[in-house]
């Protein structure tokens, strides 16, 4: 049994419940349901910050480019960006596929959910500020250059599915060693682990809050592993993160069915 938090589409209030991982049954206070019978809403309401180049393999792939124009040197501080609210979608909601791209990239990210305001947090105290973890698909239009903020590539409507829920921090033994698997139409396309992070969860939280306050309900993505799988219109994308669950969304052309938050 693990403790989970989140929101259901039928109700305004958040829930806290217990998840039987093997049976995939959610036990609420007075009822129980199989995961597939439930309709989850986006489990968080705060700001979502993404982190780029935080997997060793990503930097390896960039090779000598980090020392060349326009970058000139490898990144020093965490490379951050914002996924604005128009991008949020729930588990099982459609991802609207843009007309100006043939492929999209899956960004399989572990999301750190903030428990309370975090300002200038130290590595030693970082765990006190974490409510739990969720799964985020940080969708992008493929883009080579990282020189300028990639708003047009990363901030499209529906480009940030989140969920299905948040697993309580106490039920994650080691967030720096979680297997991540990405499936497109049930074919395994990517396997990686948060053990390959350059900045681990606590270090990232400390480095970010050194100059930028995070608030309760904000989400900090630890990064997306290298060689992001591509998907096309009609594809179903599933991200599994060990100990948390599965986030699944389908890419749909000109969708107006995508559930808004």
């Amino acid at each position: 049994m693990v403790k989970i938090y989140g929101r259901r589409q039928e109700m305004q209030q958040t829930f806290d419940a217990e998840l039987d991982v093997d049976a995939q049954v959610v036990r609420f206070h007075s009822s129980r349901s199989h995961v597939n019978e439930l309709r989850f809403a986006v489990p968080v309401i705060g700001t979502v910050y993404g982190t780029a180049l935080n997997y060793r393999g990503e930097l390896t792939n960039m090779g000598e480019k980090v020392n060349e124009e326009p970058y000139k040197e490898p990144p020093k501080a965490p490379v951050l960006y914002i996924k604005p609210k128009n991008t949020f979608r729930s588990h099982k909601a459609d991802i609207p596929f843009p007309e100006d791209s043939d492929y999209l990239q899956v960004g399989a990210a572990l999301g750190i959910v903030l428990k309370k305001q975090a300002t200038r947090v130290t590595v030693d105290h970082a765990s006190d500020y974490i409510a739990g973890f969720t799964i985020v698909n940080d969708v992008s239009i493929p883009h080579e250059s990282m020189h300028r903020p990639a708003i047009k590539e990363k901030a499209r409507d529906g480009f940030c599915p989140i969920g299905p829920w948040i697993v309580d921090v106490s039920d994650i033994n080691n967030a720096d060693d979680l297997a991540i698997n990405v499936y497109v139409n049930d074919d395994l396309k990517q396997s990686n682990s948060t053990k390959n992070l350059i900045r681990d969860v606590h270090t990232l939280l400390a480095d970010v809050t050194d100059y930028m306050t995070l608030y309760e309900g904000d989400v900090l993505l630890v990064g997306t592993p290298e060689n992001q799988p591509l998907f096309q219109v009609g594809d179903t994308v599933r991200i599994d993160i060990e100990g948390i669950g599965s986030l699944e969304n389908k890419a749909v052309a000109n969708s107006i069915k995508g559930v808004n938050v």
Binding site: N86, I151, R156
Partner: protein, 251 residues
């Protein structure tokens, strides 16, 4: 109408300008100095334009971009009128940027520039401070330069759209400790307000209280702890800010 959000005697209020004072919904009047000014709207998604004045792009040795250079800000960075912004003691290069802020009034998707003003609620003034010591060339300008706590004062007023006859022809001015250091006019923007709304709404949905900071003209100078910085836009308002050092903050 000019609107503000203020804190008075333990409560948050919406206020409007009346007789040179702030009038609360319950009728009470307060002077400017009797209230704590909050950002005039609770910011939704906040877009900021880089290099959107040709002269400023030149000042930073860039040619003006062919497509808008846009980055985003989080809620942590905003601060009301008369607030104090925190400057790291170690920084050597912090400068202000006076910018016209456009507040979105209704949901916008695929808007054409001819209709763009229909989606604007009004305007306010922003000071988009930057600490260039932390510049890196990944997703530049990076958040460590542009999204620091307290480094985006905004306000004092949200001025209704109808009050501003031509937002593309407004004088901008910054003064540091009473001396004017930056001067410009919104007519020099590379991408105009309608073009920016058309551009952004062409690939994403804009929502009420989203804000577009439209960039800054040339005239950047360094500022230090103790400075009083006033960014001002004709007809929109005068935004005052004080700079304090981080040396007394705990870690």
């Amino acid at each position: 109408m000019k609107r503000a959000r203020v804190a008075i005697e333990g409560a948050i209020h919406e206020a409007v300008e009346a007789e040179g004072k702030l009038k609360l919904k319950d009728g009470r009047l307060f002077t400017e100095d009797e209230v704590s000014w909050l950002p005039p709207v609770e910011p939704g998604t906040v877009f900021v334009l880089g290099l959107n004045y040709a002269d400023h792009a030149k000042e930073l040795s860039f040619s003006a971009p062919k497509e808008p250079l846009v980055f985003l800000k989080g809620p942590n960075t905003f601060l009301g009128h008369n607030g104090s912004s925190i400057r790291p003691e170690e920084a050597t290069n912090m400068h202000y940027e006076c910018e016209l802020a456009v507040v979105i009034g209704k949901q916008a998707k695929n808007v054409k520039k001819e209709n763009a003003y229909d989606y604007v609620a009004g305007y306010t003034v922003a000071n988009d401070y930057a600490i260039r010591d932390y510049l890196e060339n990944y997703y530049r300008p990076n958040l460590k330069v542009k999204n620091r706590d307290t480094l985006t004062p905004i306000g004092p007023w949200l001025v209704d759209k109808d009050h501003i006859k031509d937002p593309m022809n407004l004088e901008l001015k910054t003064s540091v400790n009473g001396k004017v250091t930056q001067n410009g006019n919104t007519s020099d923007m590379v991408f105009s307000i309608p073009e920016l709304i058309e551009y952004l709404s062409s690939f994403m949905t804009l929502n009420p209280n989203d804000i577009i900071l439209t960039g800054t003209p040339e005239g950047l100078e360094k500022v230090i702890a103790g400075d009083e910085v006033i960014t001002e836009i004709e007809g929109v308002g005068q935004l005052r800010n004080y700079i304090i050092s981080d040396k007394n903050l705990v870690t």
